[in-house]
Symmetry: C2
Subunit: 432 residues, 2 copies
């Protein structure tokens, strides 16, 4: 049987969170989909276009980053150890006003895409201005992208007249729907404190028309509830509900200051949440109620947020941080087990973003988005359990990355773009 | 002028925590010491035995890991997501009773040494049973080691008769003092809950005789105060003080449950502290009062603890976790700045361990323990400030490691040992 790609002799974690491993096993890929996985002893005599020897490696689904502002790699390390308000208004917004251009968005998103692929992420949900350039950069680099055009009520790059922000978003959706298998267009209403109620409603209406995902930052800081101009409820989540914005196509990012009633409300409407523990910690915004979200079965993804507030886009690091943070506070070593992070960073995260069933697993028919991890690294020796991927793994252990059936990273080298040129372009832009 | 080693064209961070960088610069090494650093424009015409082109790289002091039990790599990922008591008594102690032999200690310490060197650590303070094997393994791998023989009041590998534990430690100090430039022998009294007061006093007396460092786990868990058989004070730190154990050669590991009076007491005696935030978080032991320790100017090092409770020995990861954890709880984004972690993981940590002045810097006369970090990695682009080493750096960014003037890692390959053989030996031991 002719197939596109066969990986042999590797350990396989087909569905993160479920054990045991298949070891040694094979992964057969055809027409950009997982065809089959199984033990080597049962491997059919495939006629494969490409064969990779997976000896000493672990095949698992690529990671799903639920929240990023890819172009903000330009501002990585520009301002650290500040609170969200000072950081945003004193540093990031002024830098954006000076520096955000289509060229900047394109090159800096490309750097982010490279960093994510090289650390094992195969899908990202991104939101920024001039998001066409992010979509282009991700598609060229080979990273799958839910690309969300930002909407907010002040002049922004690409939408200088805020009156036209919904129109700009509509044109974006039109341009990208069905255009590239790697790009799913969406809308990112920045927040309830930067968008009037009417804007939020119109943005949500637009995504309903296009059946596109709707993202919004919500309940990130304790102060946010007081920053909403015309609040319809006591909490930001309550406000979104009152405006009719919560449904299964809405993704609320952060939800640090979501109380039990807010979580019940999100669960009742089937709205999804993205938690970004490192960004929330570094900006001292707070700690999201992750254990409570998991116990409610909320639709949940894990995100890095931007390189300006993290400052890494490595989801392995994010999993590790999340697992440990939620054990030490409150003190409970059984809280948020490593297994639940592996799930959240793969198939649960994909589900939360509204991606097709199977995405984030290596089950037959799933999109062929997978990574090979070098188990011979000293930090992964001995390998008693996949939980070690959380507590000992790192982006640097990823050797090979396949997205949509295509070999994008091989032996830690990107095959799609010239990384040196991308870095040089970003350094040039940063030097301005 | 003839010298051993010259690194050219690199950025240089001679004293972490102090800016600015020298860029581009040179580092001259001779007779296992830093001879000089400076801008390339001022580089003398050295006749160097080895010349390394440091283009695109950052030279900085190697990291100092203040606390490890190197051989416990064997138990990495064996038991996760448990509290300290269950983890220790239900899993680790039984596994140690079955598996700790001289052979196990040697190979598993070698794996740890390899992991630490490959992630930029050039000095470790270790404590375990049969510590001779740790010292041997580190020296062979090229890692500088403060090797502390464990003392505790129950039968242990190499000290089956607890009556003889002090004698065993004395022989260890005799064997290793002055023997190898990479090994500084010491004693590790396990804790006040596993050592009788008389044992603690005798162990400390022994180290006074030998002018050797004295380590002890102290105030790790909230329960510890109640587990001391004959307490002399209300807190573990108070207990150690009452027994006369606190002085400048005593290093207290953890101090999670140290109150203000305990911190004042440690400061007054000049005793040092090692904080291990990831291990304390993963075991849900708690969060040490790091900001209060820093504001008191306590002698302080950063440690990974063992691979069984972390599960990584990468100090870059530890710095990042520490900086973020102490910002989110309590919410203060200015708490524990990245800069203070860079200091603690280098020269402050070296000072806390009683190493010579200059250790952990690249100042003239300092031991030539240094690393080169690849700044061309996407995760370190753009490089606005050395703080990015904390928030974006990772062990995998380290390309070259020099310890005591010797090239130990070059282009991510260990030149001292056969890593494949070490991993195979550890896998064999883990499979038993």
């Amino acid at each position: 049987m002719k197939i596109d790609l066969l990986i042999t002799n590797c350990a396989i974690l087909p569905v993160p969170g479920s054990e045991p491993l298949i070891d040694p096993g094979f992964v057969a890929v055809d027409a950009a989909r997982i065809l089959r996985t199984g033990p080597m002893a049962e491997c059919p005599a495939f006629d494969a276009g490409t064969v990779l020897d997976g000896q000493g490696q672990l095949a698992m689904p690529g990671l799903v980053n639920g929240h990023c502002h890819a172009p903000m790699t330009l501002f990585r390390g520009l301002a650290d150890d500040l609170d969200l308000f000072t950081w945003l208004h004193g540093h990031i917004f002024p830098a954006e006003a000076r520096q955000v251009t289509a060229e900047m968005v394109y090159w800096c998103a490309k750097l982010a895409a490279a960093e994510m692929l090289l650390s094992g992420t195969t899908t990202v949900a991104d939101g920024y201005f001039l998001e066409d350039e992010v979509a282009l950069a991700c598609a060229e680099t080979g990273l799958r992208c839910v690309a969300a055009q930002a909407v907010l009520d002040f002049p922004a790059p690409g939408a200088e007249d805020p009156e036209k922000n919904i129109e700009v978003a509509a044109r974006f959706l039109e341009r990208w729907q069905g255009r590239d298998p790697l790009v799913i267009p969406a809308v990112f209403a920045h927040s309830a404190y930067t968008c009037a109620n009417a804007t939020l409603r119109r943005a949500k209406e637009l995504t309903r028309t296009f059946q596109a995902p709707f993202f919004i930052h919500a309940a990130e800081t304790r102060e946010e509830a007081g920053q909403i101009a015309e609040p319809r409820a006591a909490t930001p989540i309550g406000h979104l509900q009152a405006l009719g914005l919560l449904d299964r196509d809405t993704v609320c990012v952060h939800c640090v200051w979501a109380d039990d009633r807010d979580l019940d409300c999100l669960a009742a409407h089937g709205a999804a949440v993205v938690t970004c523990p490192q960004s929330n910690a570094k900006l001292a915004s707070g700690r999201a109620p992750l254990a409570a979200m998991l116990s409610r079965g909320l639709r949940l993804a894990l995100g890095t947020d931007s390189a300006a507030s993290n400052n890494s886009l490595d989801l392995f690091r994010e999993m590790d941080f999340a697992a440990k943070l939620h054990k030490v506070n409150p003190c409970d070593p059984t809280a948020v087990p490593a297994r639940s992070l592996l799930e959240t960073a793969t198939w649960r995260g994909a589900e939360a973003l509204g991606l097709e069933t199977g995405h984030g697993t290596l089950t037959p028919g799933a999109p062929a988005d997978l990574i090979l991890i070098d188990l011979r690294q000293p930090q992964l020796q001995p390998f008693h359990s996949p939980q070690l991927l959380v507590y000992g793994g790192a982006g640097g252990c990823v050797r090979t990355v396949i997205v949509n059936g295509k070999l994008v990273v091989r032996n830690r080298k990107l095959s799609t773009i010239d990384l040196g040129e991308t870095c040089a372009q970003v350094r040039r832009l940063a030097g301005r």
